[in-house]
């Protein structure tokens, strides 16, 4: 297996982009990534999307997008693992370059959610349709049940959940691509509309259109490109029972721990060595459980850690400097790729007002559904 690098990144603004279609979004992000990498061609591509079928009635999207990206007939594959699709796309690109089959691969993700579909129904198809969604439970509802379990088991408070949203909006304020560039108070979160008790509207990531893409390549191509070198030190993936009710501990997300263990091992590193984290905060409770599973904080202590400001930009362990899904927006298929872009920009020193000083190692954690799948990448900036 060969070493693998990321030499180009591109993304659209995230938001309600009424004037852009799915193909417009993906092509815009991809052309940006190609330009950023300064390459003149790609040899194949992977597209992550959760459900262009349910959101816009379009399947076969990898072929469509390769066509609109200036069709040269290259292999183009759509991968899906619900909200983890964008991370999986990067992982497939990683495997293809590592194998030696290709030297330059584009991997990205896209979702066009604001085009008239029943978004709550579409998102719930990430759960077990026959034994969860059938009974009317929604995607926020599943995380609400995790939240209640975590609160009852560890004493995590409603205020601590709100602090995750406050922090991530504070970060998103500094991100020009974020959907919500506005600060919010703890009080605003706790008074926002109830969505699935105990989760309120400002505990939830928004409905977003957007796309993100990266250029993955061999060491040879990376060195010739003259671009800053960011190495993919690990790319790991794990699954779990799809249905939340099947899992022994409802206050945990075992697929995250499983993928993390493999990633730390492959990268020969540990949580303490990582300078910056992007994690999958589709709901405030998700960020809390994930930082426990990643080993950033002790189990059950995540609420207190966030309240103490440890995971804030400038804190000891900055988490979601991009604003996270919460403030940056969550076009489900694009999210995993966009997280990796934030890490690349941090490692390149290109993160502007969001820059973590001397960031050398970064981790991006992306998951599907209520944790039925998880994909983790560890990246290293090589100067």
């Amino acid at each position: 297996m060969r070493d693998v690098y990321i030499i180009g990144v591109g993304m659209t603004k995230f938001g309600e982009l009424w004037d852009k279609s799915l193909r417009d979004l993906f092509v815009e992000a991809s052309l940006q990534a190609i330009e950023n990498a300064d390459v003149d061609h790609i040899q194949s591509m992977y597209v992550g999307a959760m459900s262009a079928g349910l959101f816009v009635g379009q399947e076969h999207i990898a072929s469509l997008l390769s066509d609109y990206l200036g069709n040269e007939g290259i292999p183009a594959t759509h991968v899906e693992s619900a909200c983890a699709s964008g991370g999986i796309a990067v992982r497939q690109g990683y495997i293809e370059v590592a194998s030696g089959i290709s030297d330059i691969v584009l991997a990205g993700g896209v979702e066009k959610m604001n085009d008239g579909a029943d978004v709550t129904f579409a998102l719930a198809t990430a759960s077990d349709q026959e034994y969860e969604a059938f009974h009317g439970v929604t995607f926020p509802g599943l995380y609400a049940m995790i939240a209640r379990a975590h609160m009852e088991k560890y004493g995590t408070t409603r205020e601590q959940l709100a602090e995750v949203a406050v922090k991530n909006h504070e970060h998103g304020l500094k991100n020009p691509n974020a959907q919500f560039q506005m600060a919010i108070s703890r009080d605003t979160v706790m008074k926002s509309t109830m969505v699935a008790d105990p989760l309120r509207l400002l505990d939830c990531s928004p409905v977003t259109d957007g796309a993100a893409a990266v250029i993955i390549c061999s060491e040879d191509v990376a060195k010739k490109s003259g671009r800053p070198l960011v190495k993919l030190r690990a790319s790991s993936q794990a699954t779990d029972y799809l249905a939340l009710h099947s899992r022994k501990d409802l206050a945990s997300l075992p697929s995250v721990a499983r993928a993390a263990k493999k990633a730390y091992k492959d990268a020969d590193t540990k949580p303490e060595d990582i300078d910056v984290f992007e994690v999958h905060d589709c709901f405030t409770i998700a960020e809390l459980v994930v930082i426990e599973e990643l080993g950033i904080v002790e189990r059950g202590k995540s609420g207190a850690a966030v309240e103490a400001g440890i995971t804030r930009l400038g804190g000891k362990i900055p988490v979601n400097t991009s604003g996270g899904l919460k403030s940056k927006g969550h076009p489900v298929g694009a999210t995993g790729t966009a997280q990796i872009i934030e890490i690349v920009e941090q490692l390149r020193g290109d993160a502007g007002d969001r820059q973590v000083t001397d960031a050398r190692l970064g981790l991006a954690q992306n998951m599907g559904g209520s944790g039925g799948s998880c994909v983790i990448h560890i990246l290293e900036g090589i100067s």
């Binding site: 029943d118 709550t120 129904f121 719930a124 026959e130 034994y131 969860e132 969604a133 059938f134 009974h135 009317g136 439970v137 929604t138 926020p140 509802g141 609400a144 049940m145 995790i146 209640r148 379990a149 009852e152 509309t193 109830m194 969505v195 699935a196 008790d197 105990p198 989760l199 029972y241 249905a243 939340l244 009710h245 099947s246 409802l250």
Partner: protein
């Protein structure tokens, strides 16, 4: 058109049929072809007692279109006495009464209308035991 799907699901949805792994005792609800705990393929059919307790729950205020006229409604994860786990609505009570740990009984109820013809789909719902 969806009648066959409906018929196929009767054993689980109407009769609460589960399977018990003959090796490790894992309760599979719905039934499975292979045990996720020990990898064996031998199961014994069991019928679940329609009784269990609430492990966690939520009150849904924003629902998919098919359920939007029912909001707010409660959904819980329930563990039966045998150890089977399921997601189900908790009905027939004021929502404030619902708490983790409370005992419930499982009842056959209408869940939703499905498909263009709006065929009624039935299945289990939970009610508080007292």
């Amino acid at each position: 058109m969806i009648v066959p799907k409906y018929t196929r699901e009767i054993p689980q949805r109407f009769r609460l049929e589960a399977e018990k792994c003959t090796k490790c005792g894992y309760i599979a609800f719905p039934p499975r072809l292979i045990c996720p705990e020990c990898g064996q393929k031998s199961f014994q059919m069991i019928q679940l007692q329609p009784e269990g307790k609430i492990l966690t729950y939520t009150i849904i205020h924003v629902a998919a279109d098919a359920f939007s006229t029912q909001t707010p409604f409660a959904v819980a994860i329930i563990e039966t006495k045998e150890g089977a786990r399921m997601t189900a609505q908790v009905v027939d009570c004021t929502l404030e009464k619902i708490e983790t740990g409370k005992d419930v009984k499982l009842m056959l109820r209408c869940i939703q209308r499905e498909g263009k013809a709006g065929i009624l789909q039935y299945g289990y719902k939970a009610i508080l035991s007292r």
